[in-house]
């Protein structure tokens, strides 16, 4: 499968302070790369640079083999999703999803069809006319997804999208995302600080820490890596299990 996103030697400084150092990354089409990173790791900056909302000091970004360093964010077809759902407060659920389609000047009937289909996929058809302040956190996150996916972006960047949700809603959203990703054949970068979520969501795993990124060759490599934290988790549960006896 071809590579959709390639990052070479990317660096970013904030004044004198290096935020990102020598980042290298390769994402294949229709794959989801989970990035384990906590706050302060530079993950948000990296995602913003990829989306074109910020510029790097060094290095290059390639989308489908083409260098997009100087491409305006409107033209990159890369959507960046915040942790908060950020639905447009003056538009209802339907209009929020339709936003990108209206910008592309699609016909009214095409918009209606695509948006309604998306609402169905998200199981939100009943809530189409509701305003954002009438929806729950999980519902808003669904609409936020729908809005991003309906315009069929080349790449989706998700910055801890489920961080603000409770455990049950979180699990539901993880399942929903996996379904939609497969259905719409999405390529995505999924950033999270939660170990389990990273393993569940991505087909590939990487870790970003203090501005440096490590992309593991496979999940197995990740599990076996001393510093990935997986071993500690497993030891923890094993210890509990043996104490119980």
């Amino acid at each position: 499968m071809s590579t959709i996103l390639e990052i070479k030697n990317l660096g970013k400084k904030f004044g004198k302070e290096p935020i990102l150092r020598d980042i290298n990354l390769a994402l294949k089409k229709q794959e989801v790369l989970s990035l384990l990173g906590s706050s302060g790791s530079g993950k948000t900056t990296l995602l913003k640079i990829i989306a074109g909302l910020d510029t790097q000091n060094e290095g290059h970004i390639f989308l489908n083999g083409k260098n997009i360093d100087n491409e305006k964010p409107q033209k990159r077809n890369i959507v960046y999703l915040y942790q908060e759902a950020l639905l447009f407060p003056h538009l209802n659920a339907f209009e929020n999803i339709a936003f990108g389609l209206r910008l592309k000047k699609e016909t009214i009937s095409a918009i209606r069809e695509k948006v309604n289909k998306m609402l169905e996929n998200l199981d939100m058809s009943k809530h189409a006319k509701k305003m954002p302040n009438q929806l729950s956190g999980g519902q808003r996150q669904r609409i936020s997804f729908g809005r991003a996916m309906v315009i069929k972006p080349e790449l989706l960047l998700l910055d801890e999208p489920f961080g603000a949700l409770d455990a049950i809603t979180r699990t539901k959203m993880q399942e929903l995302f996996k379904q939609m990703a497969e259905l719409m054949q999405l390529s995505a970068l999924f950033v999270t600080h939660d170990l389990k979520e990273a393993i569940v969501m991505g087909s590939q795993i990487g870790k970003i820490q203090k501005g440096k990124l490590v992309q593991y060759k496979s999940k197995r490599h990740f599990f076996e890596d001393e510093f990935s934290g997986v071993k500690q988790e497993m030891d923890f549960w094993a210890q509990i299990h043996s104490n119980d006896r």
């Binding site: 909302l53 964010p73 960046y80 915040y82 950020l86 447009f88 407060p89």
Partner: protein, 284 residues
């Protein structure tokens, strides 16, 4: 203790207006007052079916809407174009300076600027644009309320600049703009599909309130307006204070009508905009 608070509140807030309305109604109906000759609907019919009152209301509405519209235009331009300078820097303090100027001072200043013998006229003369006092256009005491509108705009615009600057922050417009960019929006689309709708929707109720404020303003039209049409506060007061005793009941009728109109306005605003009066103290 709580009961006392509630009673005190109701007394201070509702009593003056209600009791005042009672008196004003009684006076205008001829039941009390210097000329009380018994119940008569004459004053009310003069006011309601005559044109001066409605001309006043219409003129006040016209001044209110034009002033606020112009202020919004300027304020949005300033708040959005000069966002950075307004956040830090000299402009962020200087913009508060006009808030120190009350309507009285603005009215006086406006008159000194815009009248035929005012500063602008003198500048025009020195620059050779006009050759005598009377050639200067009538900007105050004129039929279109230009002086009133100009001064009101100067008074109100800084307030909206500060309002929009604050709203821009609290409503996280930058983040919405970034989101919309990645969805493909151009700069122009950002302005009229994201920034303006959010700012205006959020400040809608405040804007309506300001129209009511300008409509009811007194000092500025007092100095800068003319006999007819007059804005409603000036018109009402004139009726009350004139030597013609027969005008006084009409003045009271006008006052009552004005209060009813404003209360009506307020109710409509409330019904259409419950969010505005909502708060985080809702106890169910």
């Amino acid at each position: 203790m709580k009961k006392i608070s509630l009673i005190f509140f109701s007394a201070v807030v509702a009593l003056p207006v209600c009791s005042g309305l009672v008196y004003a109604s009684l006076y205008s109906l001829g039941i009390v007052g210097v000329l009380n000759s018994g119940v008569t609907l004459e004053n009310w019919s003069i006011v309601i079916f005559g044109s001066p009152f409605w001309a006043s209301i219409a003129f006040s509405l016209y001044v209110g809407i034009i002033s606020i519209s112009l202020s919004l235009l300027f304020a949005l331009f300033i708040a959005l174009s000069w966002r950075k300078a307004l956040k830090n820097g000299m402009l962020s303090t200087v913009i508060y300076l006009p808030l120190c100027f009350p309507a009285t001072v603005m009215a006086f200043f406006g008159f000194q600027m815009l009248s035929k013998s005012g500063f602008l006229s003198r500048l025009g003369f020195s620059a050779g644009i006009i050759d005598n006092l009377n050639s200067f256009p009538a900007l105050v005491n004129d039929a279109y309320g230009i002086g009133i509108i100009t001064t009101s705009v100067i008074l109100v615009t800084p307030f909206f600049v500060i309002l929009f600057t604050n709203l821009y922050q609290t409503e996280k417009i930058s983040e919405y703009k970034e989101l919309a960019i990645t969805l493909g929006a151009s700069k122009l689309e950002l302005l009229h599909k994201v920034t303006l709708p959010i700012l205006l929707k959020k400040s809608y109720a405040t804007i309506c309130l300001f129209v009511i404020f300008v409509m009811g303003s007194y000092e500025i039209p007092l100095l800068l307006g003319r006999q007819s049409p007059q804005m409603i506060s000036v018109a009402t007061l004139q009726k009350i204070q004139r030597f013609n005793l027969y005008d006084i009941p009409q003045g009271f009728a006008m006052a009552v009508l004005y209060v009813l109109i404003v209360v009506g306005f307020l109710l409509v605003l409330y019904l259409k905009n419950r969010n505005f009066f909502q708060a985080e103290t809702h106890y169910k």
